[in-house]
Amino acid sequence: MSAQALANPARKASPGMTLSDRALLQFQIEQFLYEEAALLDAQNYREWFSLVTEDIHYWMPIRRTVTRSDRDREFTKPGDMAFFDDDHRLLEMRVKKLEASSAWSEDPPSRSRHFVSNVRILDVADDDITVDVCFHLYRTRLNSEVDSWIGRRTDVLRRFGTTFRLAKRHIFLDQTLILAKNMSTLF
């Protein structure tokens, strides 16, 4: 996957949509993203998990510092190593771990704040809407630990009645060496 394509994904035209259709969809999507972010910040992982589809792919490739000429190797490819590479079964294991009474890395719990911005609807195909967002996940832990993760995501939201389910979350972090002792929370 080329970095150029990742950094500036192409937006497909949606010919049938009027400006007001687009504005309404933008509003609905943003509301969904805010709601699921609030569930994560409230550590309501089980309810958050109910918003993902059975065919979810939750993936954070490894990013490397590379020269400009080598940018097509900036991110690891699907199937190679990653920080997160979860299907529904594996993602549920993370939720179960967070729910366990012995998840020491999150007990005492961290405080997190998930911000999403720059929400761009890239593609509307049947029920699947591809959205590109910038995120900032801020975490403090114990008394003095601060982690700050910024990056962009490509999410696929699938229409589900009047709202959505999350069918894909591909996370492209703006760090190569992860400046944290762990990533024990969800993005």
């Binding site: 490397r64 510092t65 190679d80 190593m81 012995s102 020491w104 890395s105 992860i178 002792k181």
Partner: protein, 459 residues
């Protein structure tokens, strides 16, 4: 090539530390460790000189840089090095610092280059480190510059089973002799099944802990059920199966190398030894284990008759951990007394494709690394333990590596492999700190060779 790195260690003392006071930091007979080994700035600086600059350091695997011009950046202590394959196919390990003003030649962490050009003034180095171009050599330097004396500084590099190591010491023994039996057995574990290659993507993160706390934890099978209880609840892995079999086997090797963890009983191994490789593959399918594999016949040569029984964790001193029976290795790079970078390397058989490859990588991504269900919980233990090594009162308390001390006897096999057969224990941790005191107090390699402990008697 560096001089034996002891320039700052004057008249037998270094910032107040002399041989006797360093030796007093750890008592192998009782297992008590002085907490200052995990916090003291002067000891840390001495470690960079006396341990990292003198030992062989893992740099990369052959498959990471298959073609001429391919390079990978790593470290010897805090010295950044470039491992690069030149046009002749040889792998050179070069200090990543221009001989003019010191600027880094490579700022990417991996890639491909025809030569290394400094971004400051354009000095140009060949892949073997020779200085081949200096802008203005005639006009500005009046041809006075002797380029032959200004090549990149080279580390000594050698290879075992495709793993490239480097040292800054001219006096270090060969890599083969440095590894000794325990180190070679550990790397043999990586290659015991089939020819391997690295999986693209080295996970890197930084933990606010002393590097030795991360290292000694790999010998610690006591913490597994408690620290990682929530990984057990997740359903990813049944830790009681990881801890199978119950008996622990600890191999204690030269210069601080050790292998510790579950060991197959000799009687089980004797039965396996009767089987063909095909029969072993069939038998492995019946195992209820997260990594159902039984080593083939060729593993005997790579690991020895004792080593082949190990299902545990080798550490190549000082900082290279081998885990998951050779699926992954983790390098612990020192970044000051209170910070450590963890670099995870993952390997699969070259022949592995499709579902087999996918399952191996799934295990690697989900157990270890900063988001791994096991490793998430380690960092906090290590950082809080490190923190308590600095308090005026807390640093006086010592660490109690006392489990099993003085209770086990070293057995020596016919092939010379030395091991202890026991239950959960802290032998590996004690062996690490015992070797650490030798590395820290030996003035040169001759002294270190003479003093490297041999495991014998009661430990």
């Amino acid at each position: 090539m560096a001089q034996e790195a002891n320039g700052t260690y004057k008249n037998g003392t270094y910032n107040g530390w002399d041989g006797a006071s360093i030796r007093a930091l750890f008592d192998p007979k009782t297992g008590w460790l002085d907490r200052r080994v995990h916090s003291d700035e002067a000891l840390y600086k001495l470690e960079l000189e006396r341990i990292f600059a003198r030992s062989w350091n893992f740099i990369c695997h052959d498959s990471q840089i298959p073609n001429p011009g391919d390079y990978f950046i790593n470290y010897i202590g805090e010295d950044q090095v470039i491992a690069v394959r030149d046009e002749t196919g040889k792998v050179n390990v070069l200090l990543n610092t221009c001989r003019h003003r010191g600027n880094a030649l490579c700022r990417a962490e991996q890639g491909h280059a025809k030569s290394f050009v400094c971004s400051y003034h354009g000095w140009n180095y060949a892949l073997d480190g020779r200085l081949i171009g200096v802008p203005g050599q005639k006009t500005y330097y009046h041809n006075d510059l002797d380029r032959s004396r200004l090549g990149l500084m080279r580390a000594r590099s050698e290879t075992y089973l495709g793993f490239h190591f480097a040292t800054m010491s001219e006096d270090a023994p060969s890599l083969h002799d440095f590894l000794g039996d325990a180190g070679r057995t550990g790397l043999g574990m990586m290659c015991a099944f089939e020819d391997i290659e690295v999986v693209d993507g080295i996970q890197k993160n930084v933990i606010d802990c002393n590097w030795k706390i991360a290292v000694d934890n790999l010998f610690d099978w006591y913490h597994v059920m408690y620290s990682h209880a929530s990984a057990n609840s997740s359903g990813l892995v049944d830790l009681s199966k990881v801890l199978f079999p119950n008996n622990q086997m600890v191999m204690l090797g030269e210069y601080g190398h050790a292998i510790s963890g579950p060991g197959l009983p000799q009687a089980t191994q004797d039965q396996i030894n009767q089987l063909s490789d095909q029969q072993r593959i069939e038998m492995a399918k019946t195992l209820d284990h997260p990594l159902p594999r039984i080593r083939p016949q060729k593993a005997l040569e790579l690991m020895g008759s004792v080593g082949i029984r190990s299902m545990g964790h080798p550490n190549i001193f000082p900082n290279l951990w081998i885990t998951l029976e050779g699926l992954q290795m983790c390098l612990r790079l020192p970044r000051g007394p209170r910070h450590t970078e963890l670099w995870w390397f993952t390997f699969v058989p070259r022949s592995a494709t499709g579902e087999r490859r996918r399952r191996m990588i799934e295990m690697a991504t989900h157990l270890f690394g900063p988001a791994g269900l096991l490793e998430q919980d380690d960092g906090e233990n290590w950082s809080q333990s490190t923190r308590a090594c600095s308090g005026v009162a807390s640093r006086t308390l010592g660490e109690a590596l006392v489990m099993g001390v003085g209770r086990d006897k070293v057995e020596v096999a016919e092939n010379g492999q030395r091991r202890v057969e026991t239950g959960i224990n802290e032998h590996g941790q004690r062996w690490l700190y015992r070797a650490w005191t030798e590395w820290m107090t030996a003035d040169n390699w001759a002294e270190l060779k003479a003093r490297t402990p041999q495991a014998e008697g009661v430990v």
